[in-house]
């Protein structure tokens, strides 16, 4: 009896051991990511950094062969392979070199990210959005120092946090409110200033409070490089084309003496920082091996690409006013601040918002500055991040502005199907009018945002619906009791010289997906087909 019991126990133990062995993955000491999706690359390197493994990512075939020479042949490779691979056949290459491989096939970058965090089981977690890469890059070295996993926000974030029993959860940067609401209660801290620089500065200060350092990393959140994830110093964003003044203020206040810039693309900005602060700056710009030099292993991440241009300029001598119309030809809203230099200098007092695909006319009280003006536009994706610059010259035409357009806002509703505010605008004037409508201080999640429309033409005596796209959850709709609107309008599309401000309540509803045109067209086709079918049967 005793013997049978022992045997049974022994069998059970063996079975249990086998089960455990099948559940525990091969213990790898090196992670390689072969994926065209930046989120796979980031997740793989991040996983490697917090599990004390060496991380690599493939950028092209030649670079992949160099990775081989750096891998430890005595250690297994944890290979993350994405749908689009910088080098096809990389796995076969590893096998042919005798590497033992543990595979993770990434068909969905969010799933992969979550699986890696679940594997690592970190006590600390940082949650970021994945629309752009800069927030993930911003938290990279902080996560490494804190041994925190970085999760891309999703509908499953809450359950992942619960599953790993995360103790400290930092929610960083902008996350769509409908996602944030699902795990906001689990957050220990939220950093979201609606500005990637402000967020970065806040984290930078937090890093230095928790882990004092004399060395910092300079970057701009546009690339992934090993040091931006495995480094042990705080990362500071320095702008793409210009250095925001606040960057140098932050450096001065933190008493930092030494900085490393990753990549050479931002060398002029680093030079500006050195001139302003006097700190020592080193540019990490290349690598070399076996008598050859190579570019750094860099992986580009998606970045917002705001655009702005001067569409026209007119001078109204009667009103002593310079009217400049700007156009945003890009796909995201932009903030800009213009400076014009002629006999005098005029400039915007504060950053101006312009929605994607829209126009905006600014009026400047000024003496006649001449028939051609030099301008400088500082611009960016948020009012405090004007890190881009464009310069040029514009011809100034003479005009006498006599705009007779008149508009009235009839109603406002939030259309849950369109995920947009729909503003009914009526033309009460004697001429056709063009209008851009903007809603200011709309509460979305923890943010207050400004959203705008494209230019809409409203014929005399008619009404038009103007759409302001913004995704709102039910909670968001409850938070906004009324809508504050700003209307920029005029009788010429490129000269929206009139301005009105309206505050009104709004209803919530869902429009039909079908227009009358559709219904008539479909019925017409159906009648035709029906006629053919019945005729054939006869």
């Amino acid at each position: 009896m005793e013997g049978r019991t022992i045997t049974s126990s022994w069998k059970s133990n063996v079975l249990l051991a086998l089960i455990i062995l099948t559940l525990v993955p091969v213990v790898s000491a090196q992670v390689v990511v072969n994926s065209g999706d930046w989120r796979d690359v980031y997740s793989g390197l991040q996983y490697a950094s917090i599990t004390d493994q060496q991380g690599y990512f493939v950028t092209d075939t030649q670079q992949a062969t160099r990775i081989l020479s750096r891998l430890n042949p005595d250690e297994p490779v944890f290979l993350i392979t994405g749908n689009q691979q910088p080098m096809a056949g990389f796995r076969s290459l590893l096998v042919s070199r005798g590497f033992t491989i543990e595979d993770l096939r990434s068909t969905n970058a969010i799933d992969t990210n979550e699986e890696l965090v679940l594997r690592a089981q970190p006590q600390n977690v940082i949650v970021v959005g994945d629309a752009y890469g800069y927030n993930a890059v911003s938290v990279g070295t902080y996560a490494n120092k804190k041994q925190a996993g970085v999760l891309f926000a999703s509908q499953r974030t809450s359950s992942v946090l619960e599953e790993i029993s995360a103790q400290d959860v930092l929610v960083y940067g902008h996350i769509p409110s409908f996602l944030l609401e699902t795990f906001e209660d689990q957050a220990s801290r939220i950093i979201n200033n609606q500005d990637r620089f402000d967020d970065n500065f806040a984290l930078f200060e937090l890093f230095l409070q928790e882990y004092p350092s004399q060395l910092i990393i300079l970057a701009n959140g546009e690339i992934i490089e090993e040091q931006l994830i495995t480094g042990t110093s705080p990362t500071l964003f320095i702008g793409r084309q210009t250095v925001p003044v606040r960057v140098t203020d932050v450096i001065r206040e933190s008493n930092i003496q030494t900085a490393v810039l990753i990549g050479n693309a931002l060398a002029p900005n680093a030079n500006t920082i050195k001139d302003r602060t006097g700190i020592s700056i080193f540019i990490k710009f290349a690598q070399g091996r076996d008598q050859q030099q190579f570019a750094l292993d860099l992986f580009n991440v998606p970045v917002p690409n705001p655009l702005i241009q001067v569409a026209s300029a007119e001078y109204d001598a009667t009103r002593q006013t310079l009217l400049v119309t700007y156009q945003n030809p890009g796909s995201i809203a932009t903030y800009f601040s213009a400076t014009f230099v002629g006999e005098d200098t005029i400039e915007d007092a504060r950053p101006v918002f312009i929605e994607a695909g829209s126009y905006k006319t600014q009026q400047y009280q000024s003496v006649d500055l001449g028939e051609e003006l030099a301008y400088t536009l500082l611009y960016g994706a948020s009012p405090r991040s004007l890190d881009l610059i464009v310069q040029g010259r514009v011809d100034v035409s003479r005009a006498q502005i006599d705009d007779q357009s008149q508009l009235r806002v009839s109603s406002a509703m939030y259309d849950t199907r369109l995920e947009a505010f729909v503003i009914e605008v009526e033309n009460t004037g004697p001429v056709d009018a063009f209008v851009v409508v903007e809603a200011v201080d709309v509460r979305v999640g923890n943010e207050r945002v400004r959203v705008g429309s494209e230019v809409v033409r409203v014929p005399v005596g008619q009404s038009r619906q103007v759409e302001l796209l913004v995704e709102m959850s039910e909670r968001d709709l409850e938070r906004n009791n009324e809508l504050s609107l700003e209307l920029f309008f005029g009788q010429r599309e490129l000269s929206l010289v009139n301005f009105a401000r309206v505050t009104l309540g709004f209803s919530v509803g869902a429009s039909s997906a079908l227009s009358w045109t559709w219904i008539v067209l479909v019925l017409f086709i159906a009648v035709l087909v029906g006629w053919f079918v019945t005729r054939k049967k006869r």
Binding site: Q63, G173, A265, A267, P268, S280, R289, D290, Q291, S331
Partner: protein, 224 residues
């Protein structure tokens, strides 16, 4: 009967087409922070190589233990809309170039390597026998070597020019703290006007670094 069939057919087709039309309503974009961070596409983008096209460095083999890198660091960087150049990298003055096997050196803790014992430690780190003629110990025999603001009073070596005479650059050796077992840092000053390298070319720097058996990956840094 035919009339009823006709009506049923029309209704069926209408429902099908309307259903199809409804199902194909385009999804709305999702504005993000301040209503402007609308993602403009997927997250899959091409893997980017680095951008060192404006910086030329080249390498050559000296012995099996040493590699030489030389080149220029001047250049211009074009940004903006094509017709405008806002930054000219040639305006950036570079003081020194450094090479380290460590991708993440702690620049706040660089110390010069000068003693015999320290050099022998470095030989061991690279797997060299310090008594070999081309070991670090027997190659970096110079003293008071300085590079940029980071290295001074270090051991060093002066690579030859094309005439076989001591060239214009010293390569200095230092030690850094870091996670790599090979915690070496090598540096040399940049000569903006250029000077003659070992191969007769006029370049702005020349640097020689040791390489372990099987190769050593180096990261290069410019001090501005």
């Amino acid at each position: 009967m035919e009339q009823r069939q006709f009506i049923v057919t029309i209704l069926t087709i209408s429902i099908l087409i309307l259903g199809f039309a409804y199902a194909n309503e385009p999804a709305q974009s999702t504005p993000g922070a301040t209503g402007q961070y609308t993602p403009t596409g997927g997250n899959t983008i091409g893997a980017g190589g680095g951008n060192v096209t404006e910086v030329n460095i080249s390498a050559d083999l000296s012995t099996s233990k040493w590699q030489g890198y030389w080149g220029n660091v001047s250049g211009s960087l074009r940004l903006g809309d094509g017709s405008n150049v806002f930054f000219d990298w040639s305006n950036v003055e570079f003081a020194a170039v450094y090479a380290s096997p460590n991708s993440n050196p702690d620049w706040t803790s660089v110390t010069a390597v000068s003693s015999q014992g320290d050099k022998e430690t470095k030989d061991a780190a690279f797997g060299f026998t310090n008594t070999d003629a081309d070991s670090i110990t027997n190659t970096m025999t110079g003293s008071a070597c300085a590079a940029g603001t980071e290295i001074s009073g270090a051991a060093g070596v002066t690579p030859y020019d094309n005439a076989g005479d001591p060239g214009s650059w010293d390569t200095c050796i230092a030690d850094i703290t870091g996670t790599d077992t090979t915690r070496a840092l090598f540096g040399t000053n940049i000569i903006s006007a250029g000077a003659t390298a070992y191969n007769g070319l006029n370049v702005q720097f020349q640097l020689m670094v040791p390489a372990a058996d099987g190769g050593t990956n180096y990261y290069f840094f410019l001090e501005i």
